[in-house]
């Protein structure tokens, strides 16, 4: 059920000729794009790296996401609508990659979460546990949890981004949260 395409994103496989590129530019000026990018690139990278489980892939996904977004001509009702569209595209980019590389082993989250800044030991442990817990979730559950608690998206926004029914978000979220909590508290193997 989570495979539904949000916002009728018919972007995959499309190519861009000169005229289409001009149209895309007209839809969003360079300055607008730069400002939007500055506001969203880091949170988006965080989302991509955590739902894909690989920070190196996240770099490529980031570029692909903005490219698709740049080509996607749409009228945005608000900043949050624009941001949600970006996250919906990002979700599709990661799902597409997962479908293409099904079965390929990715770098475990807890390996690449240890940063050069070397935070306090207990914090590394919590982050490592969280990474392990996230690894045990379904991709859709990772997306849900990150959007709800990391990104602070409302249930309606999550439904739009992930292509789910808004009424089912609460239940799915509770289930995913319970699973992570059980792993973090050691109540689950």
């Amino acid at each position: 059920m989570i495979e539904k395409m949000p916002f009728s994103l018919v972007l995959r496989g499309a190519t861009l000729d000169g005229a289409a590129l001009d149209d895309a530019r007209a839809a969003m000026s360079d300055d607008e794009f730069r400002a939007f990018y500055e506001r969203t690139a880091r949170p988006l990278w965080a989302y991509l790296s955590r739902i894909s489980g690989n920070r190196h892939d996240a770099d490529d996904f980031l570029q692909e996401t903005y490219y698709r977004f740049y080509r996607y001509r749409a009228e945005y009702e608000s900043e949050s609508h624009r941001r949600n569209t970006l996250f919906a595209i990002a979700t599709n980019v990661v799902r597409d990659a997962a479908r293409r590389t099904k079965g390929r082993h990715s770098v475990p989250l807890d390996h690449d979460l240890v940063t050069p800044e070397a935070p306090a030991e207990h914090r590394v442990m919590v982050r490592s546990d969280l990474a392990r817990a996230m690894e045990q979730l379904q991709p859709a559950q990772r997306e849900l949890l990150w959007l709800a608690y990391g990104q602070g998206a409302s249930h309606a926004e999550i439904a739009a981004i992930l292509g789910l029914e808004a009424v089912s978000i609460r239940t799915l979220l509770l289930r995913a949260r319970r699973k992570v909590a059980a792993i973090l508290t050691g109540k689950s193997s």
Partner: protein, 142 residues
């Protein structure tokens, strides 16, 4: 199963400050305790990820996107050209078959004693083979 204080707790976690009253409630509420554990860990992780994210500058991203768009446009143009060439070749073969086919069939019948229907069948087979080869070549190039 969820607690009505969850939204309040989420706001507090995002602000990074939990009031004593809410803290007291969280300690006695399994649902809020669970929320604090999970949401708190995710928020910390997000903060770390954002702090350590090494994203390209906006200008660099724009430049890369334009280069890619140009490459895709070129590839599309090449593909259109290829289709044009293939269509021209197919039309040329059809014209040759249409104008010279009967003459060739008659000549073959006259000099080699081959039946006209057989010549036509061979010519049709050759045309089909040529069309298949052109089609296959186009698919491979695409």
């Amino acid at each position: 199963m969820s607690c009505p204080h969850e939204d309040q707790l989420l706001d507090a976690l995002r602000r990074g400050f939990i009031a004593a009253e809410l803290e007291e409630h969280v300690a006695s509420c399994p649902s809020c305790t669970e929320l604090r554990l999970v949401a708190g860990a995710l928020l910390d992780d997000r903060a770390d990820a954002i702090a350590t994210a090494d994203v390209p500058a906006a200008g660099a991203m724009l430049w890369r996107m334009r280069v890619r768009a140009r490459r895709e446009a070129e590839a599309r143009a090449r593909q259109s050209l290829l289709l044009g060439h293939a269509a021209t070749l197919a039309v040329a073969i059809a014209l040759v078959a249409f104008f010279f086919g009967p003459i060739l069939a008659a000549s073959a019948h006259q000099f080699a004693g081959i039946d006209r229907p057989l010549v036509i069948a061979v010519a049709a087979s050759l045309l089909l083979a040529a069309a298949t080869a052109i089609g296959g070549w186009m698919v491979v190039r695409r």
